[in-house]
Symmetry: C2
Subunit: 266 residues, 2 copies
């Protein structure tokens, strides 16, 4: 059981920012990553469609024999965690609760700004978790749909992302914010533009580190941490265009990715 990989699921390449942190925090763990590039993006879809797609991929990963499923996608974590946990015979961990915990720990009494896809923001999942974890904080949430295509296009520096961030977030400079929760796996790539618009007094929080810590605790608690000695093996799967995936993926993972396997989920 200890040698089974951790499954990491995302709608596309964005979850590689979570995989990257997971690999750094748990360097001995085998992993298998699935990006559903045939159906990406999820962030502009409904609760029901997101959950239908998430179950398709979640069942596929579970059938690969994994010891834990990490949902790297904020939109899936926001909508489909209960459905996945009910359908799969393994523990399922999302990014919403760890991310909210992280933001709640970081704020110093100012406003917490939650940024995410339209679907994540509409779900209210972060708002609900923060209402529980940081009940005295003022919350502002904002959907930023163009951040995902900008990050995928690799336009993360310069005038265009700064102008787009200004248009989405400019009015929040006067919101008393001290914490911005990056509630989408793509948004860390746009950190510089977001930080420039929000100002230096604001801390940017992303869910990846907190999620890796939660994975570590969960596996340790069940005596499922892998000890080695063989080097960890990392597989990468996607459902369409593996070559395009690899090109974008290396920017998100921060290192070469090797072979990307195409899997056909209909």
């Amino acid at each position: 059981m200890r040698d089974l990989p951790i499954g990491v699921f995302d709608s596309g390449v964005g979850g590689l920012t979570v995989l990257r942190t997971l690999m750094a925090a748990l360097p001995l763990e085998n992993t298998v990553y699935l990006g559903d590039t045939a159906r990406v993006p999820y962030g502009t879809r409904s609760h029901d469609v997101v959950t239908r797609y998430a179950l398709l991929s979640g069942r596929y990963l579970a059938a690969q024999r994994i010891k834990l499923l990490v949902i790297a996608c904020n939109t899936v974590s926001a909508h489909s965690l209960p459905a996945l946990a009910a359908a799969l015979p393994i523990p399922v961990l999302g990014v919403i609760e760890p991310g909210a915990r992280s933001a709640a720990a970081r704020t110093r009494g100012g406003t917490i700004v939650v940024l995410g896809t339209p679907s994540t923001i509409a779900s209210g999942a972060y708002q609900k978790a923060l209402g529980r974890l940081s009940p005295l904080s003022r919350l502002v949430s904002r959907a930023c749909p163009l951040f995902v295509p900008l990050a995928e296009e690799g336009w993360v520096d310069g005038e265009v992302p700064r102008l787009v961030a200004e248009r989405y977030l400019g009015d929040l400079r006067r919101s008393g914010a001290d914490t911005v929760l990056l509630g989408c796996t793509h948004y860390p790539l746009l950190s510089r533009a977001i930080a420039e618009v929000m100002g230096p007094q604001v801390a940017l929080v992303d869910s990846a580190e907190a999620t890796a810590e939660a994975a570590l605790r969960l596996l340790a608690g069940r005596s499922l941490l892998r000890a080695g000695p063989a080097k960890a093996v990392h597989r990468t799967l996607c459902t369409d265009l593996p070559d395009r995936f690899r090109g974008v993926a290396e920017r998100f993972l921060g290192r070469p990715i090797g072979t990307v396997e195409l899997v056909d989920l209909v």
Copy 2:
């Protein structure tokens, strides 16, 4: 047969720019429009996945009893016209051939620039059609992935679309272009930004009018034009988020759209 609607298929809302022109050219025709919003966008997917999705929607529309299927989506027209024509018992008309014909008629010996989604450009469909219809023209093709999310977000004027267009197209000002073929249904919404970057000597051509003319000729040739007298009926279907669809759709159609029906294509 004459009273059967014309089916119009698109990956999402973009094809409404084609429906709009079709309704103006053929005001007596009943129509049924299907936007596959559960799987949009198609423009970043592979040939096989685009065709799989197109067959799913094409079969659904054919089962609604239509007399003609118009493929408003450039990406589907570029990849899947033969597969759809083979699978369906009705005539199928795409936008590539009419659009290329229109650009070939417009150029005065200068370069023709073809803009489209990554998938449409990679298919080579416009390049192939123009090589046949305008063999002496120089062709330049360019994928502009951010134009679709910009148009859907409604950011069609001002600094952001102008800067994005400049980044994609600025180097083409010196290409000797006299014609720009807008090879994606979303791009007409960004006409102003594209025209500003390319300069006043360049004509922008979109496939919608030529496609409506082709539909008129095809129906007339088969004695299938509807004569009235009852007012034409227009149905609009989509596969996810009908409320969001209606909000964006009215900007593309240029008039109120009424009820949007949700259909479940799995």
